[in-house]
């Protein structure tokens, strides 16, 4: 688990597949909407992975920062689109840094509950305040061409993947993994756990917020329910665990496969069967494939070792 992943994989994904993807709007425009949806979740899952997969804190707060990013985009009409995205990411990261101080003292399952609750809380409070103070419920923002949104989110996805790879193979990443293993032990070996956790949290929030800002330009309008939708918290969890938490390729696999299935089979219909499938999938994969798709090999070898042991 701790050995380096072949760099060729990452390069392959970013350098070969990505340019192919960039040709899509000219070659197959009907595909663009689909890819925007998939890439959004690739980024969200990569961000989630930094917090949960690397650092070991079960993060269910995607909706919180996605929404913050979306609202920054809506509240900042004078800056150009891409600058707004950077601004949104930075403000989300700053919020995460500030909020992280109390939040990251919470351990284990409570952290998941706290982060999920924060999303719902912010959603309700923002909605109420909009109504009370502005006598409105939603906000308009500059709508962008779908192909521009597509290229932007593609860029963010590549950036997130490269950053995830960079983190994983750095001293910072090693520190995060040690926190995941045993936080108190890590602290005693000199790792500044508080700071590291805050950095991871901020990094996660940066990408999540940037994505929120980028994608809401597709429709030109948000309200608190659209911006802080809990799917942005819940889906990356399933995608991340299924693909393989703690790896770089895992989130891409999980997000790409699951979101593709959703778009192809459930795009025009009720999402309920898909929701059931996701639930079953996460249960089954937790029981049979605890390391996700990228960990197939080690899961298989563990399974065969166990049966061999049982037989002997």
């Amino acid at each position: 688990m701790s050995s380096l992943e072949p760099w060729r994989n990452i390069v392959l994904a970013c350098v070969v597949i990505a340019p192919l993807l960039s040709l899509v709007p000219s070659v197959a425009p009907a595909f663009v909407l689909f890819l925007v949806s998939v890439l959004t979740f690739v980024v969200l899952t990569q961000a989630w992975n930094i917090m949960t997969g690397y650092c070991g804190y079960f993060f269910l707060g995607g909706a919180t920062f996605y929404g913050i990013g979306a609202y920054i985009m809506a509240l900042s009409p004078y800056l150009p689109y891409h600058l707004n995205i950077l601004l949104a990411g930075s403000i989300s990261a700053a919020c995460a840094f500030a909020l992280g101080i109390p939040f990251l003292r919470i351990r284990g399952p409570y952290f998941a509950i706290a982060t999920f609750t924060s999303g719902e809380l912010v959603k309700n409070v923002v909605y109420y305040l909009e109504h009370e103070l502005a006598r409105t419920t939603g906000r308009y923002l500059a709508s962008q061409e779908i192909s521009l949104v597509y290229y932007t989110i593609l860029g963010i996805a590549i950036a997130a993947t490269l950053v995830s790879y960079g983190v994983r193979n750095s001293k910072f990443g090693l520190g995060l993994f040690s926190i995941k293993e045993n936080e108190d032990a890590a602290e005693s070996t000199g790792v500044n756990t508080t700071l590291y956790k805050l950095y991871a949290f901020s990094l996660c929030a940066f990408f999540t917020g940037a994505t929120g800002a980028a994608v809401v330009a597709r429709f030109g309008y948000i309200d608190a329910w659209v911006a802080f939708d809990s799917t942005y918290s819940m889906y990356p969890v399933v995608m991340g665990f299924f693909g393989g938490a703690g790896t770089v390729m895992g989130p891409i696999l999980g997000a790409a496969i699951l979101r593709s299935i959703f778009e192809v089979f459930f795009g025009g219909r009720d999402p309920y069967p898909f929701g059931i499938a996701l639930g079953v999938l996460i249960i089954v994969s937790r029981m049979l494939l605890p390391l996700g798709l990228t960990g197939i090999k080690s899961s298989l070898s563990r399974f065969s070792k166990r049966t061999a042991l049982a037989r002997s």
């Binding site: 899509v24 197959a28 197939i296 090999k297």
Partner: protein, 452 residues
């Protein structure tokens, strides 16, 4: 051994990457295939006369359009599900009437209509995605509105971006939105506020308690009610906000009861209007005037509350199922009777009426434009006057999207009064009590007590 396991691992990693690429490519190929299917090629015909030189070959016209496809969303689940039943029925009635007469007349050709409907689950996010899908993937010819002021606001950028004329029916008009493709048939929040303020000052009411639903409809109504009440010097003693889908209003009602304003105004959606009425009865709170916005003019309400209706006021239009206003397939009375005959329940005087008049408006716009081109239809909508069962409809106002007719575009206050209704056969009649220009009866104030 180590080298072997490393290369095996690498192999698996490459394999996995290849699978991902394959999935992406495969799905992409599917979509690319869908997008790149060429339009059917036109057959060529050659006509040869018996004598003389062969005339030039003629190319047959492009394949004939066989129907008009209408795309729309509606809430079949979630908090708005109950209300949208009325809208569905109104639209289906129009579709049946239209197809019974051969369909929509598009440039001289009568084409039957067919709808594609998605359940937006009362969610703006879903509605945005489904409407985008209707436009770009299903490629429908015309769009119809779903339900809710917040939906109209949220969908506006999409409609303007894709140049799809969008007649918003069950939404309060949004005069401040710079739209070219959205049009609103319903009367404005401001006119309802004016009607209510006029009524309250005419009976000498001085204080009001507000209950407001936490949606854009509520916010919009509240803004104008506050302004109009202030103009008449009427004081708002308490305002309570509640979420869509609320399940318990007893706390705010207790507060209002303690403060005892002359009038209680609930800016509501239908479900919470029913809840509020029921809970008022439970705590035996009988304000001198009780006004609840939507949902009191249909069979659900009258069925549930029967005699308890007496004196309750609500949001209405100038619609009375009397003979006057002529629409496409008959007059107001004809529409009322056709609806009752088809659905076995009487129509909601806003939630069924507005979707139906929206259909009438769209139909006339398409027929006058002679084409299904969005921009042409939009231009017709902007300049013409349309006949509907609610009265004539004409769009104007600051952004050209508001219904400025002084009949169908005016909000009224309606009150249930204990008089037999000759048309519906009910022992109660829903009379327009304000503005005085359109009133059909005088208001009963204070409200009679709840029946035992």
């Amino acid at each position: 051994m180590a080298g072997e396991s490393v290369s095996r691992r690498r192999f698996i990693n490459y394999g996995v990457t290849a699978v991902v690429a394959g999935v992406v490519a495969g799905v992409g190929g599917y979509y690319a295939g869908v997008a790149s299917v060429p339009p059917p090629s036109a057959p060529t015909t050659v006509t040869v006369t018996a004598t003389g030189p062969a005339p030039p070959t003629t190319v047959a016209p492009p394949p004939k359009r066989e129907k008009v496809r209408i795309g729309r969303c509606i809430s079949r689940s979630g908090a708005l599900a109950g209300i949208c039943v009325h809208q569905d029925r109104a639209i289906w009635l129009w579709e049946e009437q239209c197809n019974a007469k051969g369909g929509l007349n598009v440039g001289g050709q009568k084409l039957p209509v067919e709808e594609i409907v998605y359940d937006d689950r009362s969610s703006l996010d879903e509605a945005m995605k489904f409407y985008e899908r209707l436009i770009t993937v299903d490629k429908v010819d015309l769009l119809m509105f779903n339900y809710g002021t917040f939906m109209a606001a949220g969908l506006q950028p999409l409609m303007d971006k894709y140049k799809m004329p969008f007649v918003c029916t069950t939404s309060m008009p949004l005069p401040d939105v710079p739209t070219k493709y959205e049009f609103f048939v319903a009367p404005s929040s401001e006119s309802h506020g004016v009607a209510m303020a006029e009524l309250l000052s005419s009976v000498g009411a001085k204080t009001v308690g507000l209950l407001v639903i936490e949606t854009l409809f509520g916010a919009d109504m509240r803004k104008y009610f506050e302004a109009e009440l202030a103009k008449k010097g009427i004081n708002i003693v308490a305002t309570h906000l509640y979420p869509m889908g609320v399940m318990d209003l007893s706390a705010p009602l207790l507060d209002l009861r303690a403060k005892n304003p002359d009038a209680v105004i609930q800016l509501s959606y239908p479900d919470d209007a029913l809840l509020c009425t029921q809970q008022m009865i439970e705590i035996n709170y009988n304000p001198k005037l009780f006004y609840s916005a939507l949902g009191l003019l249909n069979a659900d309400f009258t069925g549930k509350f029967g005699k308890a209706r007496e004196g309750i006021c609500c949001f209405g239009q100038s619609f009375v199922p009397a003979a006057k206003h002529q629409g496409v397939y008959g007059n107001a009375r004809d529409w009322y009777e056709a609806y009752v005959k088809r659905w076995g329940a009487f129509p909601d005087y806003t939630e069924s009426l507005n979707p139906y008049t929206g259909c009438e408006v769209l139909q006339q716009a398409v027929e006058k434009a002679g084409t299904l081109d969005g921009t042409a239809i939009r231009d017709v909508l902007a300049r013409e006057t349309f006949d509907t069962v609610a009265g004539p409809v004409k769009f104007g106002g600051p952004n050209g999207a508001i219904n400025i007719s002084d009949i169908s575009g005016v909000g009224t206050t309606v009150q249930w009064q204990k008089q037999p209704d000759p048309i519906t056969g009910d022992e109660f009649t829903a009379h327009v009590v304000s503005p005085s220009r359109l009133a059909t009866a005088k208001v009963i104030y204070p409200k009679p007590p709840w029946p035992k």
